[in-house]
C-alpha cells in the first residue's frame, strides 16, 4: 500500500460537551483518487477532516494513512503526508511575508536553505503567486490568499491534499482558476465542499454525509442525479445539472 491511500474504519467521535459528531464512518480512498465530501451544515465534514490529520483523536474506530495508523506517535509523519488547506486563509497564513509563510513548513522539515528556496519558488509558481512573495499576507485579495495557502501546503510535498471549502468567498473567476489549478494536481484529494459544481468538475467520487454517518458513496454524476438522496441530505443538484432558468431546457 502506498502513502497515498486513506482508510477510515468505524470512526466515531463525540465532542467533550457530548455532541456526537461522527457515528461510525467507514470509507477507503485509494491512490490518486479525487473525492468530494458533501453534506449539509453540521453533517460532520469538518470533524471528519480533523481526524485525517490527527487533530482530533477518535472516540472509537481508526484512521490509516497508507500503512500507518494515525496515532500520537505517528503524527509528525502523518502531517507531512497529509497537507491540509483550511477554510479561512487567515488561519493558515501567519507569517509576515508570503515567502516566509510558504517556507515555514519546509524549514520545519529541517531542509537546507537552498532546498527551501527552490521548494518555495516552485510551490508559488505552481499556484501562479510567485510575484506576491514579498507581500504581507494580510494585504492580499481573497483569491491570492487562497492560492498562497495552497502553496504553503504544496511546498511540503504532501501525498494527500485535504481541503475544507476551497472555493468559499471567491469571486467567479478566482473560483474557476482554483478549479483549474486543483485539476492539475495529481495528489490524492479530499475536498469538503458545498460547491457541488466544483465537486462535479474535480471529483469522480462523492461521499455524502448526514448526521455523522456516510449516507452515500459513489460516482459523483450518479449521486448528484439522485434527487431523493440529495433532498434527504439537505442538498440540491449542482446548478450545471439543473434546468436552464431562462429557457427551461435541461
Amino acid at each position: 500500500m502506498s502513502h497515498h491511500s486513506i482508510a477510515v474504519t468505524n470512526l466515531a467521535f463525540s465532542y467533550p460537551d457530548g455532541t456526537a459528531a461522527l457515528n461510525g464512518v467507514t470509507f477507503e480512498i485509494t491512490h490518486g483518487e479525487s473525492v468530494a465530501i458533501v453534506g449539509a451544515n453540521g453533517a460532520g465534514k469538518s470533524t471528519l477532516l480533523m481526524h485525517l490529520n490527527g487533530f482530533l483523536s477518535p472516540t472509537s474506530g481508526s484512521v490509516r494513512i497508507g500503512d500507518i495508523p494515525v496515532t500520537k506517535s505517528t503524527l509528525p509523519g502523518i502531517r507531512k503526508t497529509v497537507g491540509m488547506v483550511f477554510q479561512d486563509p487567515d488561519d493558515q497564513l501567519f507569517m509576515p511575508t508570503v515567502f516566509e509563510d510558504v517556507a515555514f513548513g519546509p524549514m520545519n522539515l529541517g531542509l537546507p536553505a537552498e532546498e527551501v528556496d527552490t521548494r518555495v519558488a516552485e510551490a508559488l509558481t505552481r499556484v501562479g503567486a510567485l510575484k506576491l512573495k514579498d507581500r504581507p499576507p494580510y494585504r492580499l485579495s481573497g483569491g491570492e490568499k487562497r492560492a498562497v495557502a495552497i502553496a504553503t501546503v504544496l511546498a511540503m510535498w504532501p501525498n494527500v491534499l485535504v481541503m475544507d471549502e476551497p472555493s468559499s468567498n471567491l469571486d467567479p473567476r478566482a473560483r474557476r482558476r482554483l478549479i483549474e489549478l486543483l485539476g492539475t494536481f495529481e495528489h490524492t484529494k479530499i475536498i469538503a465542499t458545498h460547491d457541488l459544481d466544483l465537486a462535479l468538475d474535480l471529483c469522480d467520487r462523492t461521499i455524502i454525509m448526514n448526521d455523522g454517518v456516510v449516507t452515500a458513496d459513489g460516482p459523483t454524476s450518479e449521486i448528484f442525479s439522485d434527487d431523493a438522496l440529495l433532498d434527504a441530505s439537505g442538498l440540491e443538484r449542482p446548478l450545471s445539472m439543473q434546468g436552464c432558468p431562462v429557457c427551461g431546457s435541461a
Partner: protein, 270 residues
C-alpha cells in the same frame, strides 16, 4: 472611517514605509536595534530636571527619518496619537513640585514645570526613535534582530504574531462595531452593557482563531520554534553605524553639549 480603520491603515502604512530601499533601510536590523537601545538608555538615564542635555539626541531620529525617507508629517501625526499619555503622566508635576529652580528672564520656573517638560521631551525622543526604527526596519526585521541578539524565542514569536493578527483582530472588531452601529440608529447601541458583551465575543472569537492558527502551524511541522529564513549579514558599514551613533550618544550623555556650545560662543563674543 472609524478610528479602528484609520489605525489599521496607518499601521499598514508604517509597513509600506519599511519596505523602501534607502541606505538606512539597507542597514542590518541588528545594528539599528542596538543603536536604538543605546539611544533609549541614554535618554532615559537623564536626571528629572534635565532638558538642555537631551536636545542633541533629537539629531538621531531626525537624521534617520530624513535618510530613510519617512514623511515628517506622518511621524508627527503618530506622535500626536500617543502624546496624551505623556501629557497625562506629568500632569500634576507643576502642582506638586513648586520650588523655583530656574529663571527665564525675570520669570521664575518651578521644578515641576521643568520636570514636566523633561518628561515630554523624553517621550518625543523615545517614541520617535521607536517609530523610526519600525519605519526603517519593519516588524519582521525587528523580530529577527532581537531573536538573533539572543532574546528568548517566545518574545520574537509573540511580537511576530501580535503584528500579523492585529490586522485580523482589528477588522473583526471593526465589522462588529459597524454591525452594531447599523442597528443602533444614532444612539449608543444600548451602551456599556452591549459593549462588554462585544468585547467578550471578540475574546472568544480570538480564542477560536488562535486554536485554528495553532492547528495550521502544527500541520506544517511547528515544534515551538519559528524559523525565519532570511539571512542577516553584518557588514563594516553596520558596525560603523552602531559604534558611531553609540559614541555620539555617550558623548551627549556625559557632556552637556548645548551648554558647552553656549559657553564657547559666549567665550568668543566676550
Amino acid at each position: 472611517m472609524s478610528s479602528i480603520e484609520t489605525g489599521l491603515y496607518e499601521l499598514g502604512q508604517l509597513d509600506r514605509l519599511a519596505s523602501q530601499d534607502t541606505s538606512v533601510h539597507r542597514l542590518d536590523p541588528r545594528a539599528k536595534v542596538i543603536t536604538t537601545l543605546v539611544f533609549l538608555v541614554a535618554v532615559v538615564s537623564f536626571g528629572k530636571y534635565d532638558i538642555l542635555g537631551m536636545l542633541p539626541f533629537a539629531l538621531f531620529p531626525i537624521v534617520m527619518a530624513s535618510e530613510g525617507q519617512l514623511p515628517f508629517r506622518f511621524l508627527v501625526r503618530k506622535l500626536l496619537v500617543v502624546a496624551p499619555f505623556a501629557l497625562v503622566i506629568g500632569f500634576f508635576n507643576p502642582w506638586i513640585d513648586r520650588e523655583i529652580i530656574a529663571y527665564l528672564g525675570g520669570l521664575g520656573i518651578s521644578g515641576g514645570w521643568i520636570s514636566y517638560a523633561s518628561i515630554i521631551i523624553r517621550f518625543l525622543l523615545t517614541t520617535s526613535a521607536a517609530l523610526v526604527l519600525i519605519g526603517t526596519t519593519g516588524m519582521l526585521g525587528v523580530c529577527m534582530a532581537i531573536e538573533r541578539l539572543g532574546a528568548p524565542d517566545v518574545f520574537a514569536t509573540q511580537l511576530l504574531f501580535l503584528y500579523r493578527y492585529i490586522f485580523v483582530l482589528g477588522e473583526e472588531a471593526m465589522r462588529m462595531a459597524r454591525a452594531r452601529a447599523l442597528r443602533s440608529f444614532g444612539s449608543r447601541g444600548m451602551g456599556v452593557h452591549v459593549y462588554g458583551q462585544m468585547l467578550g465575543q471578540l475574546l472568544l472569537r480570538t480564542y477560536d482563531r488562535a486554536q485554528r492558527v495553532y492547528l495550521a502551524m502544527q500541520c506544517r511541522g511547528f515544534d515551538g520554534h519559528v524559523r525565519i529564513m532570511r539571512k542577516l549579514h553584518l557588514t563594516s558599514r553596520d558596525v560603523a553605524f552602531t559604534l558611531g551613533w553609540s559614541a555620539a550618544f555617550v558623548l551627549f550623555r556625559l557632556y552637556n553639549v548645548p551648554l558647552l556650545v553656549g559657553q564657547f560662543v559666549t567665550g568668543l563674543i566676550t
